[in-house]
Amino acid sequence: MEVKDLAFFVLAASAVWTGWRVFRVDSMVRASFSLMLSFIAVGLIMLLLAAPYIGIATVFMMAVEMMVMALFMVMFMMNPAGLNPMWMVHQHRLAAATGFITFAALTIAVLLSDLPGNPVDPAKPVIHDLGVELLGNSMLIFETAGITLLATMVGTVILSSRSGRYGPADEGSLPPPLTPGGRPAGRVPEDEE
């Protein structure tokens, strides 16, 4: 058990440390992958908590998401590699205080409350149980997630893609007129009426 505690301590420290580094490094690539390391540490803690599937899947999903995060960070941040050290924050003290108070309050709540004690049996087939749950009782959650993801996919494409239905989105994307040379078909924007 000692080894397990030590592993937990090391992983927890690295999760918090890399999480903190996210807001302290200059390079956006390092920030993204620092966050990824935080997720990986949390995923490994989950392995220690007898959640083999969720733990490894967290690593898997977050590696992909943080890769995409890095692409966008570099794409939209000025000085993405941090060649000039920078400090782009506002209401810094307020934010730091809020963060710390949240941490303190949650910690006190954790220490004061009577936590439930019903540990998971290490021999329990947890992946199998999850599958049964997914196809049985929680079938609706599962299918709703499908619909949500579909909505997300369509939404991202609409928002991010330049080609609108009738041409580039940033140039008005007006539908063709119904009569030659007439007004564009469809609803007229309010401020042009």
Binding site: M75, M78, N79, N84, P85
Partner: protein
């Protein structure tokens, strides 16, 4: 001790060459690449010997110096089919069997008999930055100044999707291994899409290097078919060989399908059609030469990097020279590149 043992083993590896090809030097370098004792490298970082083959322009000397300095130690320079230009003190001229000369130099470098060449350029950063700026990194504010000696790229309009992100403008060449030798292009890239292109210097004329088989080989290399390309070159160099094997390699590799249709189209002939035509010519099927002319700089904008490289490698040399009239008014810019 261990390192000297490694070095001894390494002497028997093929000599790593970065070729700098000048006027009429291409065919000789391509034939040299078939020799088992040498291996041509796409970047100076992988090479030990800088091999200058054929005469190069005076204007290209600064570029040559920079390439020389980009080789890791131990390194050496050999001049072949031309005499060393002034200003290259440690250069050595080769006559006769170049492969042996390269091998010898290579072995001497590895065993330490030959001293590695010193830098030709002064050991200075592109702009003085140490100790300047807000954090001693040479920059100012968020994007300003010259952090670590260079400014940062700035935003510019984009042709394709209207996201004005950073435009990377740089001179590519004159000895970039994926471009025809001597061609100096100023490209503005957004991501890997060419926004604008300028020819600053035309490629070198190559009198003898233009058999159809060699052209096919040059187009196969950027498609990742180094082996097949070498076989085409070998057949071209030997003037004889089994064309059936080549035909199979070409068809099975899917090279024709890997080239997007309509790419690099001049007068109705795109790269696919050129490749087909060259292959027919190589097989002895009469095929009319393409007469269409245009400008390389009009073909490149809007292309992705891989497509632009294909386009640049898809012309006969005499035709390529006609397609690359240097933009005269930009003479001033040439200084920026070297």
């Amino acid at each position: 001790m261990a390192v000297s043992g490694l070095a001894r083993l390494a002497t028997s590896a093929p000599a790593a060459i970065y070729p700098v090809v000048g006027k009429d030097g291409l065919a000789a370098v391509e034939d040299l690449s078939l020799h088992p004792a040498v291996s041509l490298q796409p970047t100076p970082r992988h090479a030990s010997v800088l091999l200058v083959s054929g005469e190069i322009r005076r204007g290209d000397h600064p570029a040559l110096r920079r390439l020389h300095d980009q080789l890791p130690h131990p390194r050496a320079t050999l001049w072949w089919r031309t005499t060393p230009a002034p200003g290259f003190p440690q250069a050595e001229n080769v006559e006769g069997d170049v492969a042996r000369a390269v091998e010898l130099v290579w072995r001497q470098l590895m065993t330490g008999e030959r001293r590695s060449e010193d830098n030709l350029l002064p050991d200075e950063p592109p702009a003085a930055w140490r100790g300047k700026g807000d954090h001693g990194q040479g920059g100012e504010g968020m994007m300003g100044g010259k952090p670590y000696g260079r400014p940062m790229a700035m935003t510019d309009e984009d042709q394709r999707d209207g996201l004005a992100l950073d435009a990377y403008t740089a001179c590519f060449g004159p000895f970039l291994s994926v471009l025809p030798p001597g061609l100096l292009l100023e490209l503005t890239l957004q991501g890997d899409v060419v926004q604008s292109a300028k020819v600053l210097r035309a490629p070198f004329a190559q009198a003898v290097a233009d058999e159809p088989l060699r052209r096919v080989a040059r187009l196969l290399r950027p498609l990742g078919l180094a082996g097949a390309a070498e076989r085409f070159q070998r057949t071209a160099a030997a003037q004889t060989g089994d064309l059936k094997i080549l035909d199979r390699a070409l068809r099975w590799s899917g090279a024709l399908h890997a080239i997007p249709p309509g790419l690099g189209e001049i007068a109705g002939e795109d790269i696919r059609a050129s490749l087909r035509r060259w292959w027919e010519q190589a097989q002895g099927i009469a095929s009319p030469a393409s007469l269409g002319d245009g400008r390389l700089v009009d073909l490149l904008p809007g292309l992705e990097w891989s497509e632009a490289i294909l386009v640049a490698n898809s012309f006969e040399y005499d035709r390529l020279l006609r397609l690359c009239p240097p933009d005269r008014e930009d003479d001033g810019d040439q200084e920026d590149c070297s």
